[in-house]
Every structure is written in C-alpha cells, then in structure tokens.
C-alpha cells in the first residue's frame, strides 16, 4: 500500500511497529512505533505522557517527510 | 545391492522365493508376529497391482531386504544389533512390500488403491503388497500399540527378506562410498554435493528412528548414503499420509539414488546429513545451525534439502535453506504444497527469498475422486475422518471424494514421484 502511494508521486512516511515488514513492503521513509496493538500510544503511561509520546513520534514522521532520502531509511531517535 | 525382481506374491505351504514369485506361509509368519504379547490378532492379506483393492488406514510400507555380506543386519537397533551398516552386499525383493495397517488412533490416515485414479498417485500401488492388519490386546495404550505395529512390519519384512539371503541376484548395483579425502582425490574437479535429509521428530505418531534412537533426541549428524539402504532410518510417523516418509522411502531414498546416478560424472556425492524437525523452537534453531555448520565443514558446493510432513517443518526447511545458503552453499529444496482446493492459496507456511530453487511434490489439497473397490483391507469407515477427507467423503456408492492428502506417498517431499504443480 505504501508503495502505491509513493508510486502515485506523493511522499509518504510509514509509521509502523514491525520495521522489517515495512522494509519488505517497500516503504522508503519509516518511523518505528511503540507496539502492534498501540503503535502511537502506550497504555502504561499517563494520558499526558502518552500524548507527548505520540506527538514526538508524529513530529518525527513530519521531519522524515521533509528529509530527502535515496532509498529505504529508518528514522530512529 | 542385489536386485531380485518380484512380480507376484502368493500364500503357500512354504515361504520361499522362486523365480520372481514370493511365496508366503501365512500361518508361520502370523505366529512369528504374534510372539509380541501386545498383539491380540494379526491378519495377513495380499494386494497386487491392478486389483480392485483398497488398503486403509496405512501405517507404514517396508521393503524386504537382507544382508548377504558385510557388517551388521538390516534395521539395526531393531531387527539386528546396533552395528554400522552400509557396506557389503544387501539383497532386495524389488517389487514386493509389507504394508502395515492398524487403527492406533481414531483418525488414522492413508489410502493405497491398487487400481483406478488413486493408483496414479501412490508408488505403492505398483507393488505386490503383503498387508498386515494387527490388533492389540485390550487396554494397550496408543504408544505401545504404535510400537507393536511398527515392529510387526519390520519383523515381517525381515522374515521375507531372509528368504532371499542365498539367492544370487541377476542384477547387482554398486554404490561407491569413498571417505571425504578419497572423494576429493577421486573427483577434484567435480562440485561437492551433500544431501540434507530432514526427519519428522515430534512425538507420538510423528517420530523417526535412526539406529533405534528417536531422532528428536539426536543432534544433526552424518551418514554414509548406503547406511539408509540397510534400514538405518525407519519411520514411526503415520500422520499426514501424502507427505510422510515411510520406511520404504528411507530404504529407497530417491535423492540418494539420483545423486549416485550423477556421482563421479557431474558431481561428487559427499554424504548425507540427517537433521530433525522438533517442536521446540530453540531445537529448530540448533538443528539448522548444525546442518549449516556440517555443510560448511564438509566443504560442500551444493546441497539438496528434503522435508517431511506438513506445517511446522516448513519452518525447519526454510531455516536450513537460509542458513546453508548463507554459508555460500547452493541449495535446492524439495517440498509439497497446501495451496487450497482451488490452488489459489499461499502454499507454504513459511517462505524466504533464499529458497529460490524449489522442487514440489504437488498440491496436497487437490480434490480427487476414488472409485469404489471390490475389496477393502482394513477399516473404510475411517475415510470420513482422515486428513483430506471430510464428513461425507465416503459416498453412498462406496466411492470417495477427498483431497490428495489421503493417499499414502502422493506428494512425497523426497521427490519420489513425478507429480508436481506449477
């Protein structure tokens, strides 16, 4: 799916937990997330902490969209 | 290997091989088998190619063989002492087999049809079969019963094999087993090829034995190819009829035969690596690490990997393939497929791009229609309950609509058959 969006000419960032799968399906900009059942959250945290975590991750995804890449790139911390 | 061709099998007053006919004294053999106190009864029957006969549920198929010269005896650890076999001469009753049946559990599987559609798929439909139906004494537990049926088959095959001990075979096949260093000197320019033989080893009805030892307790190790021809490996596996390796398959391992056929000409056949298929994942990791290590240690250029069974062995297969390829050894894998009745589903439970050379024994979910047979040896009512059958598989007219998985040996993963899929 990520590939078809990219192929259509729209820059796309893939936020996902299982980075190897993301690499396999051909994503070029990848931001690793927390866990499969809650990629952009963590029920163990307080509501505020969880919100900050999500904002940090999505912020990283926006940064990835602004970053030129040659090939598959994983945007870790 | 002395080949004695058998074209017919008959019950007679005296057990003997005369010309190409195998005569069997039914009572004598029966008494021999019933020495085992676990068994209450034993029925012997004969099924020949072309007859309207169905055998089910099949547990194992075994070829009668006897050691004429050389160390040890056939089926070491069971019917002979645990001596290393594989040298000297062995006589084979080619064209004959012992087929064991017995309802160990309530969902036993395996059909051999001696004619019709089903006969196209099972190699055992082409053999003169002596069929054993053995029943245990009341209260025998499944583990004990499985062992009793297994031993009954080996006993019968050994009994028949011995009839050929003093016969001078017309055709003799010779298999060369140089040591590793000799092999290098003999064929310095030929690619060094090994065979990784995966053995099912998971528990009751899922086991394989090597020199009497349960394969799941063994580390990956090596055999001379000829050891398998004397029964070093026997099957205790009777689940997944189409893709289990019977003892007959181990005795006549097609990969070993076909590697020998090219040995010294196109390749240098270095040896057989046997490895298991355990349930515990760490075991799978260890066993496949060891197969890869042995391939590297032997300095192989290439290896053929064969599989046994359905589902989790796909994981062992892919692990073996990946790790052996990672050592720079080129591989070809042999497997079969469960691609659904329409052939449209994903075939394997595991896959990897390293497995770029694959031979397949066909789609086990293929639906086949087996006509009614005049005679059934064993228990037909099981057909509705075996793998590949479903409620209603057994039609009112006695014919059977089921998946190919019901046929013993149909999609063998050693590449025994010509059946395949694309």
């Amino acid at each position: 799916m990520v590939k078809e969006i990219e192929r259509a000419g729209i820059p796309v960032v893939h936020m996902c937990t299982v980075v190897p799968i993301s690499l396999t399906v051909g994503a070029n900009r990848i931001v690793p997330t927390v866990a499969i059942p809650h990629p952009l959250g963590n029920p163990a945290l307080s509501h505020e902490e969880e919100h900050d975590l999500r904002k940090k991750l999505v912020g990283r995804a926006l940064k990835a969209l602004e970053t030129p890449v040659d090939g598959q790139t994983v945007f870790e911390e | 290997m002395g080949i004695i061709k058998i074209t017919d099998i008959q019950f007679a007053a005296e057990s003997k091989v005369e010309g190409s006919v195998l005569y069997v004294n039914r009572d004598e053999l029966k008494a021999h088998i019933l020495e085992d106190e676990t068994l209450a009864s034993c029925e012997l029957d004969i099924a020949k190619p072309g007859e309207s006969v169905r055998i089910t549920p099949v547990k194992d198929v075994i070829e009668p063989r006897v050691k004429v010269s050389g160390e040890g005896g056939v089926f070491p650890g069971w019917m002979a002492k645990v001596k290393t076999v594989g040298s000297g001469r062995t006589n084979v009753l080619k064209g004959a087999a012992v087929v064991t049946t017995g309802k160990i559990v309530g969902f036993q599987e395996g059909i051999i049809d001696m004619c019709g559609e089903g006969a196209k798929y099972s190699p055992f439909s082409q053999l003169n079969n002596l069929v054993l139906c053995v029943e245990p004494v009341e209260g025998t537990l499944q583990h004990a019963y499985e062992k009793a049926v297994r031993l009954a088959g080996l006993k019968a095959a050994t009994y028949l094999g011995k009839l050929a001990k003093d016969i001078e075979a017309e055709e003799v096949r010779t298999y060369e087993t140089p040591t590793i260093t000799e092999g290098i000197k003999l064929y310095p320019d030929l690619p060094r090829v090994g065979y990784v033989l995966m053995l099912q080893s998971q528990g009751l009805l899922h086991d394989t034995y090597v020199y009497g030892v349960d394969a799941k307790q063994s580390l990956t190790t090596m055999l001379y190819p000829t050891e398998t021809m004397d029964g070093a490996i026997i099957s205790g596996n009777c689940v997944s009829a189409c893709d289990k390796n019977t003892t007959y398959h181990h005795l006549n391992n097609p990969v070993i035969e076909d590697l020998y056929a090219r040995h010294g000409k196109d390749l240098n056949f270095v040896g057989v690596i046997i490895t298991n298929e355990n349930v515990y994942l760490a075991d799978k990791e260890r066993s496949s690490d060891w197969s890869a290590k042995l391939c590297e240690y032997l300095g192989l250029d290439g290896a053929i990997i064969s599989q046994e069974g359905f589902g989790n062995p796909d994981t062992d297969l892919i692990m073996n393939c990946k790790k052996i390829e990672a050592k720079g050894v080129k591989t070809v894998i042999i497997t079969d497929e469960y691609a659904g009745q329409d052939g449209a589903s994903q075939s394997l439970a595991d896959a990897d791009i390293a497995a770029n050379a694959c031979v397949t024994g066909g789609n086990a979910n293929t639906v086949i229609h087996l006509p009614k047979m005049d005679k059934v040896i064993g228990h037909i009512e099981y057909v509705d309950k075996i793998a590949g059958g479903w409620s209603g598989s057994l039609q009112e007219d006695g014919s059977i609509v089921a998946e190919l998985q019901v046929i013993t040996g149909a999609t063998n993963e050693m590449g025994f058959n010509t059946f395949s899929a694309r």
């Binding site: 993301s22 997330t33 | 497929e337 449209a344 896959a351 694959c358 031979v359 010509t418």
Partner: protein, 346 residues
C-alpha cells in the same frame, strides 16, 4: 470460424495520442491497427469480428466505461477476447487487464492480454486473466502477436494451457497439478547442477517477491502542505458503517474528519482482527493520530490536515494485498491536492 473481439486504446485505434485519451468507448466492425497482424497470424482459423476501443484516461476515470465495453463485446458473442498488448503503458495495461478479467468473470469468455513485466497491470490482473509476456514497447508488436495468436486459438477451442513458463504467460499464482517426466529428486539434482554451474534454472514454486519504488523528493514547505492520514490499522467510525472486514479487507473506507479534533472511544473503533483491539478501541488516536495532527495544524507545522482519511485492514504480513485499492485511493489523494501522507500500521 472462431470469432474474436479485440480491445485497444485510442492510440492503436489511430485516433491520436494523449490529446485523444478522453474519448469514450466505440466499436467498429472488423480489425483496426494491430488487429491486422492478429488476423494474419490466425491463418484463417479465426477472425476479428469487431474492435472495441476507448481512451485510456476516459477508461480509468469513468466507472461506467467498463460496463459499456462489456455490453459492446457481449453483442458480438465472441469465442475469445484479446486485449492489447499494452507493453509498458500503465493506464493501457490497467484498461486491458480490467476488460480481460471482467469479460472473463461476467461473460465467461476466455480472455488474453499481453504486457511488459513492469506494467502495473501485471500484478493487478495476472491471477484473473492470462497475460502474455511482451517487450516494453510497440517495437515488440510482431513478436507479441506471434506468441499471443496461437495461444488465443487454443484458448478459444477450450484447450488447457501448459505451464506459465512453457507458454510464456505470467504465472497466475493458481497452482495446477501435473505429472512431470522425471521424478522430483532427479529434477532437484538437475536444478542443483544448473544452479552450481551458474546457468539459468526455473524454480517450481516461486517465493513471494517484493519490488521497490524510488522515494519521492522531500516536502519542501510542510507548513503550507496538505497532509493526509491513511491507516492499515482499521480505524473506522463507531459501528463500522462500511463493514470493513476484520482481515484481508476487500475494500477500504474513506471518512470525513472535517472538524474532528480528537478520536474518542465513543466515536471511533478498530475493525482490525489482527491484533488485540482493547487499546485501539479505548483510544483510537493510538492508531490514527488525529489529535496531534490537529495540534500541528494549529501550530502551523503543517498547512492543513486533509478532510478525508483512508482506512483499510492490513495484516502486517499481508500488506501487499492492499495494493489494489491503494492504487485507487492514491488517485483520489492527488485529486484532493494532498502533498504528503502519513501511513500508520499496527
């Protein structure tokens, strides 16, 4: 005489190039353009009775085009329909694939098309129709016709085709049983010797493969860009109005979030069956981060959040299956002026 209908695009119909890509479907008697070569290759066994053509853009942008084309074909009661070949032309490939698979499915008539292996139509339609392998441009027309015509004749006669490799079509992914000449072990030895010698060999079971796409350039001015959210995590409005299936979904949902500041457990939920849904149902922003995207929008970090988000159910390991509809909604994203996408997966 076998009756053939031929489907082609505006270019091969001689109407013109891109400037004529908007013409609606038309039908003419007999052959047009490449149909002449086909007719010759049939050697009197078959004849093109009619040619249907349509502009590629028109076909891809008008949902009713396919129905019109099918109706035109149905009137002729052909024994076989040949589409293209489309070589490496993407939209033409999709049109040929759509016509071929829909004719086969709806009319039960055998169909055949031809494409180059990088044509997106190959992956989309190879399991639904026979697609012969061709070169990447019309320079390969003669060869393509020579390969396609005899196969078409045999299909029209109801003959079974041989394996994909033997016949030269893309493997359909449907496994067919056959008896080989040699047994499996001998085939394995042959294959290994070829592999060792560095020669070409053909595996009997190709492992699933994945291709790559070049990354697009970075977004230069995110502060003025329109960003859309897409998720394969199955977040849908509460009640799952489009009945997105819990696994291997056959369609996707497009949902308006204009004015929605935050997703709550009262308004949204997950339809995904591939993970424990407790956490996503309690707070759907954990999968589809609408809340923080709104904040970024207010802060001017992004220009705006697109009014629509798209949701599918993709099992992590089977993401590839989602490509069919991703193709479709990617076009809508472009039409909506979306300049960047955040795709979230579980």
């Amino acid at each position: 005489m076998i009756k053939v209908v031929h489907y082609i695009n505006q270019f091969y119909a001689g109407k013109g190039g891109e400037e004529m890509a908007n013409i609606p479907p038309e039908k003419v008697k007999g052959f047009v353009g490449p149909g002449m070569a086909f007719n010759a290759a049939f050697k009197g066994e078959a004849e093109i009775v009619a040619t249907v053509f349509c502009g590629d853009s028109y076909f891809n942008e008008n949902k009713e085009a396919i129905d019109t084309v099918i109706a035109m074909i149905k009137e002729e009661q052909p024994d076989i329909v040949i589409c293209g070949p489309a070589f490496n032309a993407g939209r033409y490939g999709v049109a040929c694939g759509t016509v071929a698979s829909e004719v086969k499915a709806q009319l039960g008539i055998p169909t055949l098309t031809g494409m180059y292996d990088e044509n997106p139509g190959v992956d989309m339609f190879k399991s639904k129709t026979i697609i012969m392998k061709t070169k990447d441009s019309a320079a390969g027309m003669r060869k393509a016709v020579a390969a396609m015509a005899p196969v078409a004749l045999r299909m029209a006669k109801g003959e079974e085709l041989g394996s994909a490799a033997a016949e030269g079509y893309f493997p359909t992914g449907i496994r067919k049983g056959l008896f080989e000449e040699k047994r499996g072990s001998a085939r394995a030895v042959d294959m290994l010797l070829k592999k060792l010698a560095g020669e070409e060999f053909e595996t009997e079971y190709p492992m699933p493969q994945f291709d790559r796409v070049q990354p697009n350039p970075a977004v230069v001015d995110l502060a003025h860009a329109k960003v859309a959210l897409v998720t394969s995590g199955g977040i849908v409005p509460k009640g799952n109005p489009d009945h997105i299936e819990s696994s291997s979904a056959s369609h996707y949902g497009k949902y308006d979030i204009e004015g929605v500041q935050v997703l709550t457990d009262k308004t949204y939920e997950t339809a995904h069956g591939g993970y424990d849904p407790v956490y996503a149902n309690a707070d759907p922003n954990r999968v589809l981060p609408v809340d923080v995207m709104r904040e970024f929008e207010k802060e001017g970090r992004i220009g705006e959040l697109s009014h629509y988000y798209y949701a599918t159910v993709g099992n992590g390991t089977a993401v590839a299956s989602a490509k069919k509809f991703a193709d479709t909604f990617s076009k809508e994203l472009i039409a909506d002026g979306v300049q960047a996408v955040i795709l979230t997966s579980t």
